[in-house]
Subunit: 334 residues, 2 copies
């Protein structure tokens, strides 16, 4: 059966079920808006690890194993793990998954990695290749800062358009059967690059990719924005979010009633995160906490999660290249 819709979308025949979710965050995130929706809050950014990178890795391992436990499954019930992070060569992921011991597929979509892993994992289940998959992503502010920008301890002044990388990890178990919200459709993004070169301005760089994937999703599925109770982008922050609203307004569509960005939901204004949160964990800790629980409680029934990724590296930036971006969408309904 052909499950393709239009150019970029798919409709699952037997929509896979998100049977459990777990998240973990750092102390700053724990003091933020969504504090009651986190499973665990670290006491500090190292949490007794030797390095920030190893701390990130241990968060992912914890989130994965906790999601599997909440699913009342054992690790061996998971057919595949799909995961990724922002560190070079997915360092956090590989050291986390080394301790899980299941067949593994490494995903990279920068901060869109959760949405990418959800849609590929759902294809594996609906395609008959797996009964149960686990997906996980992570990011760590201090590890990302020293890799992408400056030595973290330097405390360089950040421009107001910049965002704060979330310290945290989110994991989901996706199953062929069971109770819970279901992944019904997905839209795979194309790489969009509008020529922005400032790696502090990732929200504005990613906004056109988010808008492109959203348009394709509506075109391919025939749905309107109002079909959804809420549409959440991953980590556009306040500047990127305003741009998406503007891009839709130009085409005569008012998104504001049903649209929010996960990057605008994590920190309080007084936490001085500037344009908001970013990082793989931005959409992951919000989806695996607040959104998942709202779906389970049926406070939300139809959600579109649009993971957004900025695909540059320090090398591409130093070589004066612009920032290629991508966005992947998954519709989750109960």
């Amino acid at each position: 059966m052909n499950k393709k819709r239009g150019q970029q979308s798919i409709v699952f025949t037997t929509p896979p079920v998100i049977t459990s979710a777990a998240n973990i965050v750092g102390p700053m995130e724990g003091e933020g808006v969504l504090t009651e929706f986190y499973d665990h809050i670290l006491k500090d950014n190292l949490d007794d690890n030797d390095s920030w990178e190893k701390c990130e890795s241990s968060m992912m391992e914890w989130a994965l194993k906790t999601a599997i436990k909440k699913d009342q499954s054992s690790v061996n019930d998971v057919d595949y793990v799909l995961a990724g992070d922002l560190l070079n060569q997915l360092m956090s992921t590989h050291f986390a998954i080394r301790n899980v011991g299941r067949p593994f597929l490494g995903m990279y979509g920068a901060c869109s990695t959760l949405a990418q892993s959800m849609l590929v994992g759902s294809m594996l289940i609906d395609g008959g290749f797996a009964n149960k998959v686990a997906v996980a992503v992570s990011s760590h502010h201090d590890a990302a800062e020293r890799q992408y920008r400056f030595p973290t301890e330097l405390g360089v002044q950040r421009p107001l358009v910049s965002q704060w990388t979330v310290t945290g990890s989110g994991a989901l178990v996706i199953s062929g059967a069971g109770d819970g919200p279901r992944i019904t459709t997905a839209t795979v993004g194309k790489i969009i690059d509008i020529g922005i070169k400032d790696p502090n301005a990732m929200g504005p760089a990613m906004a056109p990719a988010a808008a492109d994937t959203l348009w394709s999703h509506f075109d391919d599925t025939g749905r309107q924005p109002s079909y959804y109770d809420m549409i959440y982008t991953g980590d556009l922050g306040s500047v990127g979010k305003a741009l998406v609203v503007e891009l839709f307004k130009e085409r005569g569509v008012d998104l504001t009633a049903v649209y929010e960005d996960c990057g605008c939901m994590i920190f309080r204004q007084e936490q001085d995160a500037h344009a908001g949160a970013s990082g793989c964990a931005s959409s992951a800790v919000v989806f695996a906490g607040y959104i998942y629980r709202m779906l389970k409680r049926q406070k939300l029934r139809k959600v579109l999660l649009v993971g957004t990724g900025s695909l540059h590296s320090t090398t591409s930036y130093q070589q004066k290249e612009s920032i290629p971006c991508i966005a992947h969408a998954v519709a989750v309904e109960i």
Copy 2:
């Protein structure tokens, strides 16, 4: 229909067809053993690009577009592109795919990325999500050297166990129908880490992962090594290859009659590549050239390709971590 076999393997119901293949290599590879099996050989390691990284990117773009052309398809016939490379944040891939404009999924399995992309791409086709996918991987000796080790121009003396990263790219078009060799089964690897910490000794580090995936493949499918005309690992080099043979010998199985490593097939002895070739492009330029043509000519009828990946980063190495490794297997038959 459940397509799982055993713990780690799958059998495709309608085995996807590799309808075309293309490859491109640097000048040193072009002077190697398989010179007649390359579609294009660069005149130098920059090929009129500003940087080695951009050269790598342009090789991938060329390989992808050439494979699509050989398939007598247009870029728009490709439902998804799955691709990856070794550079931080998959830099070569993202800049190549930016110029392709199709829905994209970023894969990371270090030098196992071709096999991973082939098996995920085949799942998308056999699962009904796509009619045609293109997969591509690349590596570039000079770009990898300066990222992973020392400034390339320094010309640091290399230990004899070390391997030479292949400059090149390979791409395949995989279709739901058509003529050509078919991907019949696949085995997804687990992360195996035996504690090796020397990033020059990647062959020995990866050999146990290759052996583990091979054993799982034989266990899950009930096949013997002799089922295959040839089994090719990706880039273990001479030291890693000898270790795989030894690990099988310990369990009473002689692999030697049907086993070769792509990393031992590329350079001539006098080219001084030490233990052989490595990099994403090692298995890719051999598979998309020599092996694919031998399959098309039916000189080989049953091949098992075992992509092997060393999942460390410079950060993990500097933090004195050992090297997690993985291997994924795809059976290709005509």
